[in-house]
Symmetry: C2
Subunit: 518 residues, 2 copies
């Protein structure tokens, strides 16, 4: 515990007095694409990879470790179970998924205006996840703390281009491993009113997530039409590639599925180590593993919302280190997005990935080379869209605001080309004519302010002006930006009774078992 | 004159002794795409913009300034000429272009192994063009000199991902304006054996370009089959947007067209100033201006090779400054690439554009947000692919090598997904099986070295290793890289008689008129 419930209550009260804060600016709660997806493979190529995925499932199989219930479910569904190895007849997984998994679903936020659609033409940009370290220009790299965690939840809340509060944005290593999920969940629930992610490090922590969400959503937890819980939590269930799911992830998935909360089934692959060194091989294996996980969730609770995830890095041939922003992972992303659409489930991949240790040109180009494929390929849930540094080991403050700027740009791109009469602007061209300029014409005056994306971070001034302004680079401007944002932060309103109930739940649970770092 | 012919000869002899230098590594002379182009508009949208372009040509017209011959050619072709305003009946320009302009052509290099195909599925990456300043980390920003020009020609020659030596890479401002084209051409011809661009600042300088190229190519200048000159020079003919061509550009275009040398007709547009602030308006105007220029070249010499160019920036609503790497220019690029393909001519656009003053994260993300659309959109001639800083005002040494790295990555992307049996890698997945790793398997061993793009500039090491290595950022590593490259440079072999003839031509011409800075 780093702060008492009393201090928490004071902060929340302060936030209530201050009003809606960042919620004052109306922004779309998620992006909806009006441009086509980029498709790198044709029908023949896609069929080949689907065939290979089925071959992997049928001939090689997937290990479901230390979970007798999972094996029983698979046996009952018609799979061949030998020890912990499950071999699925060709087509079984696809059939199970397509029989009950929703093509698109709503993740509800406690502020209904911030609920998001996951799937179809929609994209949500989501902060990075799972970083043990944090980085900023002033203090360098250090272990993350709960204070850092709070800061990033605030920054995500304040960023209109982020549609989600994320999950384990950074690890609050100042808290015991077996209790930090309470404080992370409480931060998402109180410092933000956007959607958030649940704990997956133990089935009990998944259950704590569900229980706290039920408190947070109160009357809105159950959908009166279906009598089922609304989907208020989404969680990251990674395969232990190659071709293995472990009991921790399976246990968490079962808790979420049974409560109708969403699971993102993601084979986490450093290609060359956990999959073959080729795009087509990595895609086939990713599809096989993901389909096994998605089908498993449907066996646990048919109709539970799922997302097909793909995380694939390339590898340095010099050191074996994972590399990001390279062409091969982009190709895997494009292929997997197509395969997810054919399967008929939402897709998670990409983000703003980099191996860079600081927010320099390497970080920026690697991130752009991931985020643009994320956008063009048709990712629905863009995890790791802000903050990621150092292969996911560090969450960067400057990188975070730089990435939110890029995410905003991508959302302009997704709107595509305005072909309305105003967009065609023929009258403007007529009015101006050859050899004149458009700066003063009526059409320019009418459209000037919204015509072009304007970054709050780039410097487009003359060299002389930039020189006079102190010759700041992008990272230095970003450093000023996140400090301004945090200084301006105002928390969203939360019913004090709910806040009280959350704190009581959390304190009671924390007191019920000893601290541990397992 | 900064160096005597004697010194030049000495340098060239030294190069001969050293052999082929950078030519030792066999690399493809240009990229050929094996992935689809990204198409942002459907048939209906494209037809609408084509219709609007024809409306601009028919109703508003294009000014051809100070060139009576141009007006006569247009009148003879059936256009309505009123003063210098030329209005083309709907469809005339398209008809003229499609009747004679080649869909694809070869630009010959003095080293035949480096000749490139322009058009179709091919892409050539070309250095930035026209920068008055240069920038490096050590000396900061300063005016470019002939020494800088030589350095960039050498660096382009040494970069396998650049297929071209470019043109006015930076302005050698230490030479008089009316004579610097000689030294730039001589540098391209002797320090490199890749294709190059011609002078367009005066029709006489275009003629000098043709005359020097004829000396350089000697027996290869004429194609024995057609009796026509081979296309050995490509040059940048900008429209003076909106809807104007001036006598300088028209004069240069006529010289090149009559000698069957290639012209890139490029409306140069800062949207909001030289075109409407919308994507569809800018695209229609670009298409109209470009079609007028392309058709003009076909009137001058039917069959002369041409390229449809598009350069469009967005604008800062705060300052009116051009902005780069934003979504709107990317959309213009995608649309124009589609329109060029429908017209049936090669397409030039994009590059690695940025408004940043130094090679920081802004430079990297803006460049990536231009270069990836360049690659996916289907650009054939990617001018400005290396070095561009500060909206084209400065050529950066570090930026140059960073950009060549990105260009190399794009060429891996263009190769697409290997769907061969080795690419599918099913045997590897079978061999390894669930829960194991792929590092040691036969397939990984066989494919490891070529499997993933490996950047010479990124740092993928652990934080600790990076720390021990001196905590260098991307720009600092790039600084070391260009110095190493220049230290290792070896000039390609050139027949001393040709070198002698080039020097004689240049010296004689230079002596025939006084220096001037016009």
């Amino acid at each position: 515990m780093t702060s008492s419930p009393t201090r928490r209550r004071t902060r929340t009260s302060g936030a209530r007095r201050a009003g809606q804060g960042g919620a004052q600016v109306p922004v779309p709660p998620y992006a909806t694409r009006q441009i086509p997806c980029y498709e790198v493979l044709n029908e023949e190529g896609l069929s080949l990879i689907e065939h290979n995925a089925d071959t992997i499932l049928e001939d090689i199989g997937i290990d479901f470790r230390d979970d007798p219930e999972a094996l029983r479910l698979w046996r009952d569904a018609g799979a061949d179970v030998e020890g912990e190895r499950v071999r699925m007849p060709r087509g079984l997984c696809r059939q199970l998924i397509q029989a009950s998994a929703p093509r698109q679903f709503t993740q509800h936020a406690r502020n209904p205006a911030r609920s998001i659609e996951i799937g179809g033409p929609h994209t949500a940009f989501v902060p990075a996840y799972g970083c043990p370290f944090v980085y900023d220009l002033d203090r360098g790299r250090r272990y993350g703390t709960l204070d850092d965690f709070h800061n990033f939840v605030k920054l995500a809340y304040q960023s209109p281009s982020l549609h989600h509060s994320g999950g384990t944005i950074c690890e609050p290593v100042d808290l015991p491993v077996n209790k930090r999920h309470f404080d992370m969940l409480y931060a998402h629930m109180t410092y933000s009113d956007k959607c958030f992610m649940g704990s997956v490090t133990h089935p009990e922590r998944a259950q704590d997530t569900v229980d706290m969400a039920r408190i947070l959503f109160g009357d809105r937890w159950l959908d009166p039409d279906t009598g089922q819980p609304r989907t208020c939590v989404i969680s990251l269930i990674n395969a232990n590639s190659p071709m293995t799911f472990d009991a921790t992830m399976l246990g968490a998935a079962k808790v979420y599925a049974r409560h109708h909360q969403a699971c993102i089934i993601t084979p986490f692959i450093l290609a060359g180590a956990m999959s073959p060194v080729t795009v087509a091989g990595t895609a086939a294996q990713t599809l096989a593993e993901a389909m096994a996980g998605l089908a498993f969730v449907q066996l646990v609770n048919p109709g539970a919302p799922v997302v097909l995830g793909s995380f694939a890095s390339s590898m340095s041939m010099q050191s074996g280190a994972p590399t990001f922003g390279t062409p091969e992972p982009a190709l895997v992303l494009y292929v997997m997005a197509q395969l997810a659409r054919r399967l008929g489930v939402p897709f998670r991949s990409g983000g703003s990935l980099t191996a860079a240790k600081l927010p320099d040109a390497q970080a920026a180009s690697e991130s752009a080379n991931t985020l643009l494929p994320t956008t063009l390929g048709g990712v629905n849930f863009a995890l790791h869209a802000a903050g990621w540094l150092e292969g996911g080991l560090a969450m960067g403050y400057e990188k975070f605001v730089m990435d939110t700027d890029q995410a905003a740009m991508m959302q302009t791109l997704l709107k595509g080309v305005d072909l309305s009469e105003n967009g065609q602007a023929l009258d403007a061209i007529r009015e101006v004519g050859p050899g004149k300029h458009f700066l003063g014409c009526a059409h320019t005056q009418a459209n000037f302010r919204t015509a072009f994306y304007l970054s709050p971070l780039t410097d487009n001034n003359s060299f002389e002006q930039w020189d006079a302004d102190g010759r700041l680079d992008m990272a230095q401007r970003a450093n000023a930006r996140w400090k301004t944002l945090l200084a301006e932060y105002q928390a969203p309103v939360l019913d004090p009774a709910i806040d009280e109930a959350l704190v009581t739940y959390m304190e009671t649970r924390k007191a019920s078992f000893p601290d541990s770092n397992l």
